[in-house]
């Protein structure tokens, strides 16, 4: 089992994702340079947070054209696990691997704080180790996390149970008070219809040790590990 963390110019949470996988979970992990089309036989790919290409033009809009994204797309279509965190989520939306798009936060400012998200679905490789309805405390840090999509897409997302995380209050209410950025229906994270590609705005890698204020984010990486172990057993 091996994780790959893609490094775009301007990625700045690449080291953090690497650390969470390699040093906290102690699973093999390596960096993948954005100009490489070789995913180095990784079993799961993480597109980390940051400001790829300075987020100039539009978040994720330039990074999606990096050579590595051709391989990531193929990998995703063949069922490989791809997780986009924050800027990685934005890139996946731009690349069309996930539905929807990001607008500027409703308060028009960058926000960095711990928020609470509720696990909505557990039949995904990103949430299988969590309980349905479990509340995770995880930080956000973004200017453009106001998730949006058209009505038809939204209906699809709900019908296919693709909304996997929603912002809530600490006690689990998905109302306006729990919504930090104006995202439609408090959506914090979604997966694709095939459930092997997911993106979320909060940073689970920053919530991987109690000393940092929360270890709730680990459950997402643990889920991926379990999914990979399960897949390996199935093929064995």
């Amino acid at each position: 089992m091996k994780f790959g963390v893609v490094v775009f110019p301007g990625s700045n949470c690449d080291h953090d994702a690497f650390y969470a996988i390699g040093n906290v979970l102690k699973k093999p992990v390596e960096f993948i340079w954005h100009q490489s089309e070789d995913l180095a036989n990784c079993d799961a790919i993480i597109l980390p947070g940051g400001f790829s290409y300075g987020d100039y033009l539009r978040t994720g809009a330039i990074a999606r054209f990096s050579p590595v994204m051709n391989s990531v797309e193929k990998f995703a279509h063949s069922g490989g696990l791809v997780l986009g965190i924050c800027n990685g989520f934005q890139i996946l939306c731009e690349a069309g691997l996930l539905p929807g798009a990001m607008m500027r936060n409703s308060g028009l400012r960058f926000i960095c704080r711990h928020v609470h998200i509720r696990v909505e679905q557990t039949d995904t490789p990103f949430t299988n180790a969590a309980e349905r309805g479990q509340i995770l405390k995880i930080p956000i840090a973004h200017s453009d996390g106001n998730y949006t999509c058209d009505e038809a897409t939204l209906a699809d997302l709900e019908r296919n149970r693709q909304v996997i995380f929603r912002y809530t209050t600490p006690d689990g209410k998905d109302d306006d008070a729990g919504n930090p950025n104006g995202a439609v229906r408090n959506i914090a994270g979604v997966c694709n219809r095939e459930r092997n590609v997911a993106g979320l705005m909060p940073h689970p890698e920053r919530a991987s040790e109690a000393a940092l204020g929360s270890a709730d984010g680990l459950v997402i990486f643990r889920s991926m590990v379990e999914a990979l172990v399960g897949a390996a057993k199935a093929t064995a």
Partner: protein, 831 residues
């Protein structure tokens, strides 16, 4: 502006327009042995500007202690470096970007952050934290601030905060702390001081010393444009006038994405082993980097401007040499290995061009294609510039009497309303509105972000192995009001408070950096303030064992002839060996005892660390401090035998407090007396308590006094203190507020306001569980620190302080919290 073809002839008038005095111009001619051409004149003018040459401050800065057994690099390099154990070093420095931030707040602040980050990674250290020390004019209209002025100050604040956030967030360094203060004097001249910290393995450090004749000189990073010509160097070397807004084009523009690429590329290039020296292009751009590298290395340097990547066509040598375009570096590579370096920059998509070489003989020769544009001996230009011992004159003594000072309320007055007002004042109120706009958690090292502890605490991962070693604590402090009233004592307080903050986070203070913000050095009173401040810092740093490893002087902080308060800002660094021992300010358990630690100790004679017979300050009057000749004012008025200062002095020292300003509208008197031995005892005691794991929380007493300290510890306990309910979520609808409250009894004979809101140093509050109480008291005794049980943490919402048996503050925590938590946001939105 000169062009290559129509060269402007240099005259004494043009030299004067460049800010060179007649004597300086004569010195230029002497060094060159001829008249300078316009490019050379430009080079001299920026190198000898106040900002780059420290010509007015040098003679005083020598008095600062800069050595210590942990100091690897003192002042003189891009940043100071200290040994933090395990083969690791910390590079850190604070720098001002005041003038550009007034002219253009957003870009001024971004480039301030960008500049200090480059100073750190130029040394080979990866930046892991930034702190910002900010000063603005009042943001709420009042007696001394008009509505328009307050609105303008809010816009400046907003621009600066957005600027800092925009740069640090994109670059990927957490902004973990700092402070913000407001005084009318900063209205026309805000202060933006940015501190950056980086770490490296000791053997991976780089220095800005050119070496090896024939080695190629490589230009990397952003292209050179016409932006920022005379930006930092001249903006920061003259005071503001009405026309200063027209200097907006002189302000540089920051590109944090470019800087991020530059960081990664530089660190990677350094790993090739082919980099000999490196220096960032900050103030005075290409001029400063070429000349200083050659001067430090005792070599010459030759570059060809035609090879410099340029953003615009038709730039003259003058413009290229003086441009302050951001995100550029100059490095010297090992001859024959330049391709290894160039390859790294190519990988990161950055310009990297060999523009020249290191030469023998000490000349900085600037060519432009075939012709020589400038030829100046590097060392005299960099090191033999003018040095001034400017006239110093103490201002006329302030004539004040008792009626100018704060008059304490009659006994038994309920002070809850005043307390609410104090909590809501911008200086005391929660800074969450600001700090939430900063990425505080990127790099996953932040153990205590803004407001969690008295200092920001970040853990260190070994750059090679990622293994977590120890943690570093950082704090910035500086009380301009106190320095205005008494620069020497104010400066001592700045050092002491910064160190106390470090200790209250559990770390041991080891070294400091300073940013000295002052008015015009051409005014003898300002130079007196400066000189006094240097002496205050020197005395305090010596006493506390924290050498100054670098920093920055910012003069000419004046507008229309009015100086700011003298504002030294101290950035203190501490080391915490056990990352699990971070102390935070939040009260944790209902029933814990609240203990007031007081460095004035039990039976210690003030000013004599050996101890003696003077009583603890139970009479409530401020113990006298033997400041000797450091503070003639205090000295002359102390009462010789009692060990206590008469009530009139208490009132006088209270008049400089935040409470006096906010509630009484009075800013007068003196800063609280300070005794460094006392401060040191408290610091050692706090470090020992942290190492022992004996206390549940710690919070030093500073702005707003004991009452504010207690309240903040209650607020911080809220389970989601890092993101309290937003104002729109109405209270009452079952929102689960579960504050801890406090009941405190001050058995103290001083006036209630003095006991609650006095800001005398050397004190901290710790909360202690029943089981650890005896151990804590024993440790305090061991360090000769008085430990008084003053109250208890309670479950529920009551915050109650009794004084002489009567409740003087009595309020639900929630009400206090509401005043404190949302005030800044409300003021900024103008409501």
């Amino acid at each position: 502006m000169a062009t290559a073809t129509t060269e402007i002839r240099v005259t004494p008038e043009i030299a004067a327009e460049h800010g060179l005095t007649a004597e300086e111009y004569a010195r230029v001619k002497q060094i060159l042995g001829r008249e300078p051409n316009i490019t050379e004149l430009g080079i001299f003018s920026v190198m000898w500007s106040e900002h780059c040459s420290y010509k007015s401050s040098k003679v005083h800065l020598k008095r600062l202690p800069t050595r210590g057994k942990l100091v690897v690099q003192g002042p003189g390099e891009n940043a100071g470096v200290v040994d933090i154990g395990d083969g690791l070093v910390a590079a850190f420095k604070i720098e001002s970007h005041n003038h550009p931030s007034y002219v253009e707040p957003f870009q001024g602040a971004t480039t301030g952050v960008g500049g200090i980050l480059r100073d750190i990674f130029t040394m080979g250290a990866r930046p892991i934290a930034v702190l910002d020390s900010l000063r603005f004019g009042e943001i709420i209209a009042g007696k001394r601030t008009t509505k328009e002025e307050a609105a303008k100050n809010r816009r400046i604040l907003d621009g600066v905060v957005r600027g800092i956030g925009s740069y640090g967030n994109c670059f990927g360094v957490p902004t973990v702390g700092g402070e913000v203060a407001f005084e009318p004097c900063y209205s026309q001249n805000p202060l933006v001081n940015a501190l950056a910290l980086g770490i490296a393995r000791k053997e991976d450090l780089f220095f800005a010393k050119a070496k090896g004749a024939g080695n190629p000189v490589i230009y990397v990073g952003a292209k050179t444009g016409r932006d920022g010509i005379h930006g930092a160097s001249l903006l920061a070397s003259a005071e503001f006038t009405e026309e200063s807004r027209q200097k907006r084009p002189n302000v540089q523009v920051g590109d944090p994405f470019m800087e991020k690429l530059l960081l990664e590329a530089c660190l990677e290039a350094m790993q090739t082993g082919a980099v000999v020296a490196i220096q960032d292009m900050g103030a005075a751009g290409l001029t400063c980097s070429t000349v200083e590298m050659a001067s430090r290395g005792g070599t010459g340097i030759e570059i060809d401007l035609a090879k410099v990547p340029q953003r615009e066509t038709g730039m003259t040598p003058y413009e290229i040499m003086l441009s302050e375009s951001q995100e550029r570096m100059l490095l010297v590579a090992e001859k024959g290995r330049e391709h290894e370096v160039l390859a790294v920059f190519k990988k990161w998509g950055l310009d990297a061009v060999v523009v020249g070489r290191v030469t023998e003989g000490g000349l900085a020769r600037i060519k432009n294609s075939g012709s020589v544009a400038a030829e100046i001996p590097a060392h005299p230009l960099a090191e033999e510039g003018p040095v001034y011992n400017r006239p110093i004159a103490a201002p006329a003594p302030r004539v004040e009497s008792e009626k100018d000072w704060f008059a304490f309320a009659p006994e038994g007055t309920n002070l809850t309303q005043n307390f609410l007002k104090l909590l809501a004042s911008p200086a005391i109120a929660s800074k969450r509105w600001i700090t939430e706009q900063y990425d505080t958690s990127v790099r996953t090292n932040t153990l205590a972000g803004p407001g969690a502890s008295d200092a920001a605490v970040v853990r260190i991962k070994d750059p090679k192995t990622n293994v977590v070693k120890r943690a570093l604590a950082l704090s910035t402090d500086g009380n301009g009001r106190w320095c205005q009233l008494n620069p020497r004592v104010g400066a001592m307080h700045a050092v002491a408070e910064a160190a106390r903050n470090i200790a209250a986070s559990g770390a041991r203070p080891i070294a400091a950096t300073n940013c000295l913000n002052f008015g015009s050095p051409e005014k003898p009173e300002v130079m007196w303030q400066f000189s006094e401040t240097i002496d205050g810092i020197a005395v305090a740093c010596n006493a506390l064992g924290t050498p100054i490893t670098g920093g920055n002087v910012s003069f000419y902080n004046e507008t229309l002839g009015k100086s700011i308060f003298p504002t030294p800002v101290i950035g203190m660094l501490g080391v915490l060996d056990d990352v699990s021992r971070v102390l935070k300010i939040a009260f944790r358990n209902d029933g814990d005892t609240i203990v007031l630690l007081d460095g004035f100790g039990v039976g210690a004679t003030l000013g004599s660390p050996a101890g003696g017979a003077s009583p603890a300050p139970t009479l409530g009057l401020i113990p006298r401090t033997d400041l000797g000749n450091q503070s003639p004012a205090c000295h002359s008025e102390r009462s010789e035998e009692s060990g206590l200062v008469p009530p009139v002095i208490a009132s006088r020292q209270f008049s400089s407090s935040e409470y006096s300003k906010t509630v009484g509208g009075i800013v007068a008197g003196e800063p609280p007396a300070i005794d460094l031995a006392t401060e040191k005892r408290l610091i050692n005691c706090l470090v020992a308590l942290a190492a022992d794991g004996a206390v549940e929380s710690a919070h030093d007493i500073s702005d707003g006094g004991l009452a504010v300290t207690l309240a903040e510890s209650c607020f911080a306990n809220q389970p989601d203190a890092c993101h309290p309910e937003s104002p729109r979520s109405s209270r009452g609808e079952g929102s689960a507020f579960s504050f801890l409250g406090a009941t405190v009894n001050l058995d103290d004979s001083s006036p209630a306001e003095h006991a609650l809101f006095g800001e005398r140093g050397a004190r901290a509050i710790v909360s202690v569980s029943r089981t650890n109480l005896a151990a804590v008291l024993a440790i305090a005794r061991q360090y000769n620190v008085a430990a008084r049980e003053i109250g208890r943490i309670t479950r529920g919402d009551a915050f109650r302080i009794e004084h002489k048996g009567r409740a003087v503050i009595d309020s639900p925590v929630e009400i206090l919290h509401d005043a404190w938590a949302h005030s800044l946001e409300r003021s900024i939105s103008g409501k």
